[in-house]
């Protein structure tokens, strides 16, 4: 078996193969002009709608403007939701088109495939966040006390969380119909409980406990910290760490549920 020693056994997480996969996913995105346009424009447009909703409502005394609080939080929610949807459908397409089965026979490892997806949509999310943050602070007068680059960073980590959960959810979906319905299941409870609708302290105790283990809670808290303090706080970095950890955990679970052998 001399040939076996000459062939390069692929490392579990080859940077080369991960990059190739990221490039491929971005190329697919690039051919889909409408999706690119929607990715870039929709969050800004929806944020504009929120801005208009509150434009005539006076702020509660002693409280920040409602739009400053909610609009900023939405900068973390949008990329999470959008990337969850895009990746769960994208991965399902890999599955149904037979390309996933084919990839599993190549040297590309499952973690490298998933990480390649995460990096591609993380990059897309970075561009999306740059556009949305720029529009928000210029056109909608969004007030952020801390550095805007941190807002973009948190948005990207949120997007990667969305990607990771989307990849995981796609393992449990057999059709596009099912995949789309995972979105409200995964996203809405996190949105309801993250403290945006009702401050977390006012939630019933057990719901507060549920809220404590949902990653979006930490994403929204991190954004609130950036919004309120000029310097990055320890709480904020802790929150970002929790969201990133949750994303890694979901990616690991997604890799574990991705079966090489199927019936």
């Amino acid at each position: 078996m001399t040939a076996a020693t000459t062939s390069r056994p692929a490392a579990a997480l080859s940077p080369r193969l991960t990059t190739a996969t990221t490039t491929r996913v971005l190329r697919q995105l690039r051919h889909d002009h409408r999706t690119v346009a929607m990715l870039l424009v929709l969050p800004s447009a929806l944020l504009g709608l929120l801005y208009l909703i509150w434009s005539d409502v006076p702020a509660d005394p002693g409280q920040p403007e409602r739009f400053d609080r909610i609009g900023l939080s939405m900068l973390g929610v949008f990329p999470f939701v959008v990337m969850f949807l895009v990746t769960s459908i994208g991965m399902l397409r890999e599955r149904t088109s037979g390309t996933l089965e084919r990839l599993l026979t190549t040297p590309l490892s499952r973690p490298a495939l998933l990480l390649g997806y995460g990096a591609a949509f993380g990059l897309a999310a970075a561009v999306q966040a740059l556009v949305t943050v720029t529009v928000a602070v210029t056109a909608y007068d969004l007030d952020v006390a801390g550095p805007l680059v941190l807002v973009v960073l948190i948005a990207v980590v949120d997007a990667i969380l969305g990607v990771a959960l989307g990849l995981l959810a796609s393992a449990f979906a057999r059709s596009e119909f099912q995949a789309v319905q995972f979105m409200p299941v995964v996203v809405l409870p996190q949105f309801f409980l993250c403290g945006l609708l009702v401050p977390r302290e006012q939630l019933p105790g057990w719901l507060q406990a549920v809220s404590d283990v949902l990653p979006l809670t930490y994403a929204v808290e991190a954004l609130r910290e950036v919004g309120a303090a000029a310097e990055p706080t320890g709480t904020m970095w802790g929150d970002v760490g929790v969201v990133a950890g949750a994303a890694l955990l979901a990616l690991g679970l997604a890799a574990a549920t991705l079966r090489r052998r199927t019936s």
């Binding site: 040939a3 076996a4 062939s7 491929r24 051919h31 084919r102 599993l104 190549t106 052998r261 199927t262």
Partner: protein, 242 residues
């Protein structure tokens, strides 16, 4: 010489339904082995077991001296599924370059593989804009690009015009002459004559494992389709008498 693929007592079920029933066979290296049988006979399932993506109930599949699907094999085995499995929202060239990268090859190898399947002119086109036959060839190019030692092709010539089919078969034989092993499934009997060796599968059982010449001699007919039918009749007769 050691067999490139050794299948031993392979049993595969889909649900409660047996798809492969105790199949044993060997694929010699450096040859084109045809896997023939009617649709539903288990051809695709056997090929999936060889590339290591099929759940098997019992039995074993050894490929190039290792268990099928093991990590070390993945750079040495190329697989083309029956339905073209390429990214329809990428161009032919982008597809070939991606798979080239996965096998550690460069852009030149991708272009060569595209030329090998006669798609150079369409290299810049999106796969979704191609005809069915062209898509199949794009899919084939993405396996050729890795220059695998074992090439597993599930009905690669479906929907191709006769000229192209002949070209592809001569390409397969050139690869075999260069020492590569090919397993090609087909339900078209006129392709059987082009194979060095034939495995005939029917209802999950192996009916015959021989060269085309041996098959003709054994059944006393020059026509391989006729030979296959006489094997089927003999097998059915055995089932009745048993």
């Amino acid at each position: 010489m050691d067999a490139a693929v050794t299948v031993t007592d392979l049993v595969v079920h889909r649900g409660d339904h047996p798809v492969l029933r105790q199949v044993s066979c060997q694929v010699p290296p450096g040859q084109v082995t045809g896997l023939l049988g009617p649709s539903g006979s288990g051809k695709s399932t056997l090929l999936r077991a060889v590339v290591g993506v099929q759940q098997v109930r019992s039995g074993s599949v050894t490929v190039l001296g290792r268990a099928a699907g093991s990590a070390a094999l993945r750079s040495r085995v190329g697989y083309v599924t029956q339905a073209p499995s390429v990214y329809t929202d990428l161009t032919v060239r982008e597809n070939a370059r991606y798979f080239a990268a996965l096998y550690g090859r460069g852009a030149a190898a991708a272009d060569a593989a595209i030329a090998d399947v006669g798609l150079s002119e369409a290299a810049g086109q999106l796969v979704e804009d191609l005809s069915g036959g062209q898509r199949g060839r794009a899919s084939l190019a993405c396996a050729l690009v890795g220059e695998p030692d074992l090439l597993v092709l599930d009905e690669p010539t479906v929907g191709l015009d006769p000229v192209l089919r002949v070209e592809l078969w001569s390409r397969f034989h050139a690869l075999a002459a260069a020492g590569k092993t090919l397993v090609v499934s087909s339900h078209v009997m006129d392709e059987a004559a082009r194979c060095d060796r034939l495995l005939l599968l029917r209802e999950g059982r192996l009916l015959s494992d021989s060269t085309p010449a041996e098959l003709r001699a054994r059944t006393g007919t020059q026509d391989l389709e006729e030979a296959f039918l006489s094997l089927v009749r003999a097998a059915a007769g055995q089932q009745v008498t048993a």
